[in-house]
Amino acid sequence: MSNTDPESDVRSASRAGAGGRLRRPEGAGGQGAGIYEVFRRERKGQAFEHAGSVAAPDVAFAEAYAHEQYGRRGESAALWIVPRDAIREIDDFPDELGRNYHRVDGYSLKVKLAEARERAASAAGGNR
């Protein structure tokens, strides 16, 4: 099932990987049990996009479940199934010194352009 809070998902990934998330019969939570993220390609040539996730006792079940949940209506040309534990999330991007020239939005062309237009207009007005 897909989750709406990716942060809490990632934090719980280690617990799920250890068999803590799902209640399973004795001896069932073997290697590979946990959450698998599913990526979906709608048509050949398109990029894979995150579709959701499935909980499964191993990778074979994960493939079967993903196949039924994200492919049975013909909505996918291909799927990627990735154990959530294999995903590394990076979400900390410090910019303490405010070096905005590192960023694509650091140099605002819109503002500079407006200023330039204003200068040009007032210069033209002054000449008249």
Binding site: M1, V54, A56, A64, H67
Partner: protein, 223 residues
């Protein structure tokens, strides 16, 4: 039912097509009883999807046999259905027996679909090929459960119990191959007594009653 297509050198066996269609309808119906109550949600979705595929296969097969697939599916008397005793059995809430039937059924179904794919009738062969494309995933699903439950006593017992039913489901000449693929011993004829296709077990009347209930509630209606 319509007559044979007349295009093939050997006549199309409509009786066999009806048997398979009835099996698919009823096994799909039985599997769909797990919708909403399967042991885990992911399995609920997957098993329901498989159930829906089976009913879809039934619909396509009925469509080869009659102009009105619905009438053929739902408007027959209980004893006119040709489904095998294996698919009639109600297993809720026994997951081990459900999976044992699933594993046995898919293995048997594979053999007869292979036969249909080799049919001289292009409609039959073409439909069988389409059906088989979906059945591949049913078999994968069944296989992965079989491996998972292999050492589970309840599952082993269910397999032993249901194996004669599965053998009886197939035409006689296909049974040895099924036994070989499942690595099981072919049941003696004595064991197969009462498991013939056309026999309706004690679970059947209630299934038929419910399956046809809505159609019968307004006879002759256009839905």
């Amino acid at each position: 039912m319509t007559g044979s297509a007349g295009r093939s050198s050997s006549p199309r066996d409509d009786d066999v097509l009806l048997e398979i269609a009835d099996d698919e309808l009823v096994v799909g119906w039985r599997n769909s009883e797990w919708t909403g109550i399967a042991p885990v949600l992911e399995e609920d979705v997957a098993f329901s999807s498989i159930a829906q595929n089976e009913i879809g296969h039934a619909r396509a097969l009925y469509g080869l046999l009659a102009d009105d697939a619905d009438a053929l599916a739902f408007d027959r008397a209980p004893d006119e259905y040709r489904c095998a005793p294996l698919v009639q059995l109600r297993f809720i809430p026994d997951w081990a027996r459900t999976i044992a039937r699933h594993v046995l059924y898919e293995a048997a179904d594979e053999l007869r679909i292979e036969r249909l794919k080799a049919s001289d009738d292009p409609d039959v062969a073409g439909l069988a090929a389409k059906i088989d494309r979906e059945e591949v995933y049913h078999r994968l699903h069944a296989q992965m459960w079989a491996e998972r439950l292999r050492d589970e006593v309840r599952y082993r017992e269910a397999l032993d119990e249901l194996w004669p039913y599965a053998a009886a489901m197939l035409e006689r000449d296909l049974r040895p191959e099924l036994a070989a693929r499942l690595e099981l011993e072919l049941p003696r004829d004595k064991v197969l007594l009462g498991l013939d296709r056309g026999v309706h077990g004690e679970d059947w009347p209630a299934l038929w009653e419910e399956m046809t209930m809505v159609r019968r509630s307004v006879p002759g209606a256009t839905w």
